[in-house]
Assembly symmetry: C2
């Protein structure tokens, strides 16, 4: 971690124009290729773009950047976004296009999530005296293995930088507030039998046949819908893999169902695994992945102000996102950013430019009220 | 196909001593390595060993050899064995060893099935005036892909050579008659759904969950035991494979159970598939393998004579063997040969030498009665 308030003298990065619109800044950010692991150039450009912002204390940790106001406000909000993208597929440089009368910016990263980062950068640069103190965070390695995640690294090594009363993650939500996120568990449930030649199957014991009660439980399961802080979280319990079999003439002695459980944020990870162990009692169960959910915290005063400022009806977030890292630190957090999440990672990734403007207006209204 | 009554003048093969015991001839045959596809040397040696047998008309087709008596007897029996083995695993040359007071010949091919071939060769050479006309067949490529099988090739290209009233296949049966064989079918039963992100599983349709009724049918299935010509054939219906799944966060849109059905020889292959289609009605079912069974024909007069001559209680054969090829030609057939079938293909493949002698005595008695 280095203090990076002063830009490096050698200018070996593209220049971001902070006086341009958020739409234009989005285009500039997209055209700096920054597939996970290759974020240094875009991080350099962001640090340089903030070098004239005397109201911000800028700290850099690897390719993560933290920019804080220190105005002595009662409340501090954290607003974060990742600067990496998934790999390209001939979808850079970005370009503007019109479809059915709607203007889009097309290209890798437009949705996930450089439009969100552009709005944040624009506001970070311009809001010299916001209503709350703000901690802006732009981080690396979100699209790859969890242990590389830049926000995770900051939360482990510098948790003091993430402290705040409320957090917003700028992931694409069509510029509608999506609160918290479901938790996510994956387990493998195994059966075992006795191998035998299938011509004399009665000598063996078929482990695949023993999967039957497991599949019956899954097929009959009625997932809950749980109201958490005013949002309805739909759960899901699904086989996402099944395997077994040695050869066409062998009774298999082992078989496995790979199960994914998405659970409402009112349930802890431990409670989720306990539920699975009860459902599949008596079976060999191995936990292969477990991520806590995040409560939306939409009943907090700051959240209610945000909802009023940006408009629209808040929705629950079903997929797991980095808001759970804030939740783990005791900070209520929501997702709010431009772009259709169904276009994230798509080859025809594109963001409606009016969503970029809407998101900027929403955040600006909230951060400058009172 | 060439007439091979005269041996080739160049002697480039090991010499088999037809005056030795069947045990010693087994050893000599085993020490001629003849993994499937490499049977020419052993076939040459067999043709040469029969060259002095004026009572036999010897025909060669590739590495398959047919040696027939033509004595004008009322009945003709076919006695066959394959001359290839599965690959070696440091188990040649063969050797004699004693275990718990029992003498064994150890090595690749001792059980499957050069002991049977040795007994057949010894008797072919010595029985100048057997009770029945005999067609001796030694064939190649039994241990590999069905379409290479030497007996199958003969039955397609020269069915007249296989004509007879009864057939014996010398596969290892512990020198006890095993009648006919079960049929063998394999099918793949598939389900299809709608792919979706597992965070929003209700948008998709889980094909793995749809396997549940298929597994229920398999787990609840009560296989029949069917008396065919006096032998009790146990059937079996088993999943031998199961698969499905795309990734840990995806609702799978396709899944499959691979099912193996072993059916009594009173049921035809078509009837077997009809039964499976009824069991799994409404599912996408693909037949991947189908082999007819073979009735034992133990109520035929020739069979009753054989049972009396060799002694012991005839048993049903559960695994599929080449007897089904005779059955397909309308010829009742049994398995009868020295060696424990559980030792076939094993790294410690070994035959109890007294079983070789017992098999020779049994066949000799049958072929020389009256």
């Amino acid at each position: 971690m280095v203090d990076a308030a002063s830009p490096s003298p050698a200018l070996d990065h593209p220049i971001l124009d902070m006086t341009a619109t958020a739409i234009e800044i989005t285009r500039q950010l997209c055209d700096i290729e920054s597939v996970s692991g290759n974020e240094t150039t875009i991080a350099d450009a962001i640090v340089a773009a903030l070098s004239d912002s005397a109201h911000l204390q800028v700290t850099r940790d690897g390719d993560a950047i933290v920019a804080r106001t220190n105005l002595g406000r009662d409340k501090r909000v954290v607003i974060a976004g990742h600067i990496d993208t998934v790999p390209l597929n001939n979808n850079l440089p970005s370009r503007f296009e019109m479809i059915d009368g709607v203007e889009y910016l097309w290209g890798r990263g437009t949705v996930d999530m450089k439009a969100g980062v552009a709005v944040q950068l624009k506001l970070a640069s311009e809001l010299i005296e916001p209503t709350f103190d703000i901690t802006w965070i732009w981080y690396d390695h979100e699209e790859v293995s969890e242990n590389l995640n830049g926000l995770g690294r900051l939360s482990r090594q510098h948790p003091e930088l993430l402290v705040g009363d409320f957090a917003i993650l700028g992931e694409p939500t069509n510029s509608i507030i999506e609160g918290g996120c479901n938790g996510n568990a994956r387990v493998e449930v195994r059966t075992s039998g006795v191998r035998a030649h299938s011509a004399r199957s009665w000598v063996g014991h078929n482990a695949i046949h023993d999967l039957t009660p497991i599949l019956q439980t899954l097929a009959a399961y009625q997932p809950r819908t749980v109201n958490v802080d005013g949002l309805e979280y739909r759960e899901g319990l699904n086989a996402v893999g099944i395997s077994g079999g040695i050869a066409g003439n062998v009774i298999p002695d082992t078989a496995m169902v790979h199960i994914n459980y998405r659970f409402a944020p009112s349930r802890s990870g431990v409670e989720a695994i306990t539920h699975l162990r009860e459902l599949f009692e008596g079976y060999d169960l191995t936990v292969v992945d477990l991520a806590e959910g995040a409560r939306p915290g939409l009943n907090a005063p700051l959240a209610l102000d945000l909802i009023r400022a940006v408009g629209g009806e808040p929705q629950p977030k079903y997929g797991w996102t980095d808001v759970a890292r804030f939740s783990a630190l005791g900070i209520p957090a929501v997702n709010y950013g431009p772009g259709d999440p169904l276009k994230a990672h798509a080859d025809d990734e594109r963001v409606a430019t009016d969503q970029i403007t809407a998101c900027e207006h929403g955040l600006r209204a909230w951060l400058t009220t009172n």
